[in-house]
């Protein structure tokens, strides 16, 4: 028989203090340790007769995966063990509440839904880069935490169904039936595919649908055949449930809910990007959809659904680009060096072409004398802004990218390097490309923007120089440039 849990009980070097939550699968306790430097939580799964074998294996999976996870979007693993047949796992206790209570307030405003969705997508992107697919994304596993500075982030909870690409998958080896939470499971997960990070984007899409409309798109089926219905039956378009929802949000949600993972966002970072830039979302037929597919559509897909094969989906995933990058090219619209422009275009083209699914954001920085004073609300400011957007589009035209692959952004900042570095960080950018500024007086006065970006950005940075046969003439200029001299 398992031991009875009570305050004061010792498990390993930890002492149970108070129960925090009694769940269906496990009990959570606050615990203490002699040398603790942050609050601790112990997860103690129910054991004994009557507990499903899959739950026992699920806790085993969590104990295997959690020790290898790092970063701000997962609770820190501390220790795990077994005391008198009671397995336990101790981790950092993170303050906050899950998104589950918010469901009672749904429908939420589109901006709030997009904001929460972007935080969740950024957390998922970090997890996916650690080679882990969560496979149980739902409001109850998304913990909203605010740090000391008041910045919000989402922390992902419960790795009991997760798949780690570099660890044995005990669940896949032992169980044939689909595993997940019925309303949120991706179609391929229903078919038994556990290795596709885009399954988490589907589940996040269900979560956003629920938060934005107050309803789940696929109900809560209890049978495998009921689960399979999502392979061929469209959800009701969310704007039909919630007419106030903007088209861009329906576009994003329905793209997450695509049956074929290849038709969803290729990465969580790209989803986060759209959720953070609603004005840049390209509206397709999804945004306009005003009814579910009819009988013919449904029948066609029902037939095709029978051909959708788990093996094929796995094989396709294995061949796919593992993480199509988000690339930023920072453009100095004032530098006026055709050779450098050509070199920058050339490098950018090669980067985008070699990674199928890559997206490019063209960015320029509009220097403002001081943040908050130069508002672009006035006509002159808006003109400057629009002129730069047009110039960016003109710059990128030779790349010949489709509108789904490219976006344009004018950042306003007193500090060019800061603007680029912040932009890369908050959008989970993979790669910054920028031109090297010539040896001008401005550089001597301000220092090199590219050097700072290379040193401080948290992603890859490429500094492009124009190919030359002889060194460029140096023309020292000692006059002070106007303040809106952008990137270099």
């Amino acid at each position: 028989m398992p031991i009875e849990l009570h305050a004061g009980l010792r498990i390993g070097d930890y002492t149970l203090l108070e129960p925090l939550h009694e769940g269906g699968m496990a009990t959570l306790w606050r615990v203490s340790h002699a040398q603790e430097t942050f609050p601790l939580l112990a997860k103690l799964p129910h054991v004994g007769r009557g507990e499903a074998v899959s739950r026992v294996v699920s806790f085993e999976v969590e104990r295997m995966i959690m020790p290898g996870l790092t970063g701000p979007f997962v609770p820190r693993f501390v220790a795990s063990g077994e005391t008198a047949d009671q397995p336990w796992l101790v981790m950092e206790l993170i303050l906050g509440t899950t998104l589950e209570p918010l469901l009672a307030q749904a429908p939420l405003a589109a901006e709030r839904v997009a904001g929460l969705g972007a935080l969740a997508a950024l957390a998922l992107d970090d997890l996916h880069r650690q080679h882990v697919v969560h496979l149980d994304i739902k409001p109850g596993n998304l913990l909203l935490h605010a740090d000391a500075a008041g910045d919000e982030r989402i922390v992902l909870l419960d790795f009991g169904l997760a798949h780690h690409a570099h660890l044995p998958d005990l669940l896949a080896e032992q169980f044939d039936e689909p595993m997940g939470t019925a309303p949120y499971m991706a179609p391929e997960q229903v078919l038994g595919v556990r290795s596709d990070p885009r399954s988490d984007l589907f589940a996040l899409g269900v979560t956003l649908y629920y938060l934005a409309t107050g309803q789940t798109p696929f109900g809560a089926p209890t049978s495998t055949s009921g689960l399979k219905r999502r392979l061929y039956r469209d959800p009701v378009p969310p704007r039909m449930v919630q007419p106030a929802m903007p088209r861009w949000l329906q576009e994003i949600i329905l793209r997450c809910l695509e049956v074929d993972p290849d038709n969803r966002y290729p990465t969580a970072a790209q989803l986060a990007f759209d959720l953070q830039h609603p004005e840049q979302v390209v509206l397709s037929a999804r945004a306009e959809r005003s009814e579910r597919g009819g009988v013919i559509d449904t029948t066609r897909r029902w037939l095709r659904g029978f051909r959708l094969d788990a093996e094929e989906l796995r094989a396709r995933r294995a061949q796919a680009e593992p993480h199509p990058p988000l690339i930023v090219v920072a453009i100095d619209l004032k530098q006026g060096d055709p050779a450098l422009d050509a070199a920058l275009l050339d490098v950018t083209r090669r980067l985008v072409q070699t990674a199928p699914g890559a997206r490019l954001a063209c960015v320029t920085v509009l220097r403002t004398a001081r943040i908050g004073l130069d508002s672009n609300i006035d006509l002159e400011g808006r003109n400057r802004h629009v002129k730069r957007l047009l110039a960016l589009r003109h710059w990128a035209r030779p790349l010949g990218l489709g509108e789904h692959q490219i976006t344009f952004h004018v950042l306003e900042s007193a500090d060019v390097a800061d603007a680029i570095i912040d932009y890369a960080r908050s959008n989970a950018i993979d790669h910054i490309v920028m031109g090297a500024r010539g040896m001008t007086g401005v550089r001597r006065l301000l220092g090199s923007v590219s050097a700072r970006v290379v040193a401080e950005a948290n992603c890859t940075a490429t500094v492009v120089r124009a190919a030359r046969n002889s060194p460029p003439p140096v023309t020292p200029r000692y006059t002070t440039e106007p303040t809106d001299d952008p990137v270099a």
Partner: protein, 255 residues
């Protein structure tokens, strides 16, 4: 699994199928030393194919005298007894040559190696747990399940198969996993595992880097490693010794 806080640190280096390849053994030992290993286990086939049998046997013998563990492989047994015939012709020829390279003490050391060793929850054996002296391979989940069923040990470490592999017991069989080098794998205490580090001295999975692994007894984590080494030098020695060209060529191909 027991509570993991009360154990003293213990990291065990695992080397299988060294096959008289001094360069590969030295490279793996350095990598295992860097990983903090203080004990070593040699999972058989110290000799055969390679040009440095005396150096490898002498090294392992010295390690064993200081507490390392070693089990016998089919090439070691054939060399010790001088009875070939169990393997293909070229391997037999290498066995005959190897016997000329070892002194009496070294041959006696090979002859005295045990078929298997059990150390706490760990079983070390060259080929498999169900009939170690018959040298059947653990090449698939079926064979792994058979081996796991034949022992009470939670962890089995073996060699013989030259490709790295990790199997875990599950109801009705076993699950296979192709390990990724350098990633620590927590071996959950709730089940049995069978790990094959891969061949140190003669890799055959189209990657010429030497294979080995290390196990952390404190955290119950197993890490597979691939270590680049000077396989051209090892191949040149094989050619200089007059051994079959194929033994030299395959080191560069890892096949």
């Amino acid at each position: 699994m027991r509570s993991e806080d009360t154990q003293t640190p213990m990291r065990i280096g695992l080397l299988a199928d060294l096959h008289a390849n001094r360069e590969a053994v030295e490279a793996c030992l350095e990598a295992l030393h860097d990983a903090g290993c203080t004990r070593h286990v040699f999972l058989g086939d110290l000799v055969g194919y390679g040009a440095d049998p005396a150096w490898v046997v002498e090294f392992v013998r010295e390690q064993v005298s200081r507490g390392a563990l070693a089990v016998v492989g089919n090439h070691d047994a054939a060399t010790a007894t001088g009875t070939g015939g169990a393997m293909h012709e070229q391997a037999d020829a290498a066995i005959a040559w190897t016997r000329t390279q070892l002194d009496r003490d070294q041959l006696d050391f090979l002859a005295a190696l045990p078929l298997s060793v059990t150390d706490e929850e760990r079983l070390y054996v060259h080929a498999n747990a169900w009939a170690p002296a018959e040298w059947a391979y653990v090449r698939n989940p079926l064979a792994a399940a058979r081996s796991l069923a034949a022992t009470d040990a939670r962890l089995t470490f073996c060699g013989h198969v030259h490709e790295p592999a990790l199997y875990h017991a599950r109801p009705g069989g076993s699950g296979y996993f192709a390990p990724k080098p350098g990633v620590p794998i927590p071996l959950s205490g709730a089940r049995q595992w069978l790990a094959i580090p891969g061949s140190c001295g003669q890799p055959r999975d189209h990657n010429p880097a030497a294979a080995c692994a290390w196990f952390d007894g404190t955290t119950s984590q197993l890490t597979f490693l691939r270590v680049p080494y000077d396989h051209e030098r090892a191949a040149a020695k094989i050619r200089a010794a007059g051994l079959p060209e194929a033994f030299a060529a395959r080191l560069g191909e890892g096949a």
